[in-house]
Symmetry: C2
Subunit: 157 residues, 2 copies
C-alpha cells in the first residue's frame, strides 16, 4: 500500500516536472523575425515581461517537482512543509500561465478599445510556439494540482 502510494506520487511529480519543463523550453525557444512595411520586426519572448515570468515559473516548478521526490514520504512535519511549498508553487505557476495567456490573447485578438492591434498575423510561427507553450503550461498546472491533492489525500494515512 505504502509502496503503491509512493509510486503514484512519483509518477505525478515526474509528469508535472515534464510538462513544466517542456512549457519552459518551448516558450524559451520561440523566436521569429519578419519584415513589416520594409522594417525588420523581431519577436522574442524576452520582449514581454509576462512571457519571461512564464519561462521562470515553469523552470522553477520543474526543478521543484523533481527536488520534492528527494523528501521522504509523508511524515507529519515534512508533509506539511511540502504542502506549503506545493501551494506556493501552484499559485506562482497559475499566475504565470494566466499572465502569459492574457498576453497571447492580446496578440491574437488585440484590444480595440485600447487601440492595441493583433500581431499574430505578422508573426504566426511565434504565436504558434507561444500557444504550444501555454498548452503545456496548462497541463503542468493541472498535474501540479493533482499532485497537491494527492499529498493532501495521503497525509497522515
Amino acid at each position: 500500500m505504502a509502496k503503491a502510494r509512493r509510486l503514484v506520487a512519483i509518477a505525478l511529480r515526474v509528469a508535472a516536472a515534464a510538462a513544466a519543463g517542456v512549457a519552459a523550453i518551448v516558450m524559451a525557444t520561440s523566436h521569429e523575425t519578419t519584415t513589416v512595411f520594409g522594417m525588420q520586426v523581431e519577436a522574442k519572448f524576452q520582449y514581454t515581461p509576462s512571457l519571461v515570468f512564464f519561462v521562470s515559473a515553469n523552470a522553477i516548478a520543474c526543478a521543484y517537482s523533481l527536488l520534492v521526490l528527494l523528501v521522504p514520504p509523508a511524515t507529519s512535519p515534512a508533509a506539511k512543509l511540502v504542502l506549503v511549498a506545493d501551494a506556493m508553487i501552484g499559485m506562482v505557476l497559475t499566475g504565470a500561465v494566466a499572465a502569459a495567456t492574457a498576453m497571447s490573447d492580446l496578440g491574437k485578438n488585440g484590444n480595440s478599445q485600447a487601440r492595441w492591434l493583433p500581431i499574430c498575423g505578422q508573426i504566426p510561427s511565434f504565436c504558434d510556439h507561444v500557444t504550444g507553450a501555454l498548452a503545456c503550461g496548462f497541463v503542468a498546472v493541472v498535474l501540479h494540482f493533482i499532485a497537491l491533492l494527492y499529498s493532501i489525500y495521503t497525509m497522515d494515512g
Copy 2:
C-alpha cells in the same frame, strides 16, 4: 487554546474577504470617458477580459472566505476539504491578479516591439482605479496565503 486558534482563523478569513471584496468593488467601479483627437473614448473594466476575470475571482474569493467560516474547525476530513478549496481559490486568485497586473503594466508602459502604445496618459483616473484594485488584490492574495498556512499549521493539532 482552541478558542484562540479559532479567533485567529476567523480574523484572517475576514481580513482576506475584506481585501478581495474591496479589490472587486474598486475594479468594478473604475470607469472613465475622455476625448482623444475629437473621438470619445470610454474606459471600462468590461473591455479587458483579464479585468473581468479579476473582478470575478476576487468576488468568488470574498464569498469563499466568508462561507468557510461556517465550516466547524479542523476535524480531519473537513479540514482536508477546506485545504483543497483553499489551494484552488489561491491559484485562481493569483492567476487573476497576475493577468490584471500584466494588462495594467501594458496600459502604463506599452510594448514597443508589439507597437502597443501606453494609454494611461489619456485615462489617468481609470488607471489609478485599476492600480488601487491591484494593490487590494495583492493584499488579498497574501492574506489568503497566510490563512492557508494557518489551516495547514492547525491541522490535526
